[in-house]
Assembly symmetry: C2
Homo-oligomer: 225 residues x 2
């Protein structure tokens, strides 16, 4: 689907709600950076408004070009709302990576190194069966690249039972903190250790289902992790 | 502060918005479980409504008894709103741990093992200096236990420059998926590998600030990670 997308500018256009009121130097609209942050995670936090109050639910997502797809498994409420609403459901979709704990000499300057993306927009229920099938493949491959081709495809009944939301990447910003400690000059001589503790997501040894068909080996795409 | 809290029932009372419409068997209101999920993370996703639209921002939080404190560093907008609003700012605070990738033989049954907590409520700006100081200590110690005592305490000026939101744990639910693959019986003979890939958060070797005072050693509370 990316092939049908016209060339895009190198950055998203900032809007009133994507320019942060604090630390604007940490904000970025760079398209490649936004894509890289989105592609490295698979769980987002999806916010929407119900009865005037905010709701935030974790859910799976995948990027296909300039479009995000959100899985309906945790989102029956927003999805039902999107199906009913015209013209769709206003959402805010946020993805965050924690990269490090920043320990300063002063309590005040403690921080977190992170990369986040916030997407504002209107989500629509995907009704076209072919688009839905491609979105579901993308969701599976986003979690484990190559996996959708190595599993039984969804049946028509399963497709019908799955809800998928579509959200265009249009009003988008990244925000990040990188680097070391920012202590006050007069605190540098204090005897407290200061620095950064890296944080990362790691994968353990895969645990095979006890009922695997005889001779089924761990696939290569899981060995590399 | 926990000492002043009266004994609490073992579970939070479900409400209309904490009973999920899907997979209600995955929901829990158990207080200890909720606390354990909250205490294991330090970044939440805070949702609120601005101009009728949802906003979701990642931010640091800490639990003190039956109360959450949210740091203002990424939240000047919600915090300003909370300061102005009467009686506070409606929020939804969500914390999610990803524990495993569940690879089923069928694309449809792919899933994620996770533990999440969703807190609905009204957030208030913390104005009492002593409560704010304790909240900031809790925020630092929540990320690195023992750290607040090993750093320079915030000055009055720093305290004044920091905004903290308070949110009571009242309308709260946990949701979790654990265990293995749930494939259809007729799919068990398929040749696709199935099982669970564990996911965890790990810490790398701490990187000391280049300007550490002479003789400053890595503290014990960072060695254990």
């Amino acid at each position: 689907m990316q092939g049908t997308t016209p060339p895009q500018p190198a950055a998203y256009a900032p809007t009133d709600r994507t320019v942060p009121t604090r630390s604007p130097d940490r904000a970025s609209y760079d398209r490649e950076l936004v894509h890289s942050i989105l592609d490295e995670a698979y769980v987002c936090h999806l916010g929407f408004v119900r009865d005037g109050a905010p709701v935030v639910l974790p859910t799976l997502y995948a990027r296909v070009g300039e479009r995000l797809y959100v899985h309906g498994s945790t989102g029956s409420r927003p999805l039902r709302a999107a199906g009913q609403a015209d013209p769709g459901l206003p959402v805010c979709l946020t993805v965050t990576h924690v990269d490090g704990l920043v320990l300063a000499r002063s309590a005040f300057h403690h921080s977190i190194n992170y990369r986040s993306v916030v997407v504002h927009g209107v989500a629509y229920d995907v009704t076209d069966p072919e688009e839905k099938r491609q979105a579901l493949d993308a969701l599976v491959d986003h979690v484990v690249p190559g996996r959708s081709a190595d599993s039984r495809p969804a049946s028509k009944k399963e497709l019908a039972a799955t809800a998928v939301l579509r959200l265009d990447l249009d009003e988008v910003s990244a925000k990040l903190r990188t680097g070391g400690v920012n202590d006050e000059p007069e605190d540098l001589g204090l005897p407290h250790w200061a620095g950064v503790v890296p944080v990362r997501k790691t994968y353990g040894t895969p645990i095979a289902d006890p009922d695997l068909a005889a001779g089924t080996e761990l696939p290569d795409y899981l060995r590399a992790r």
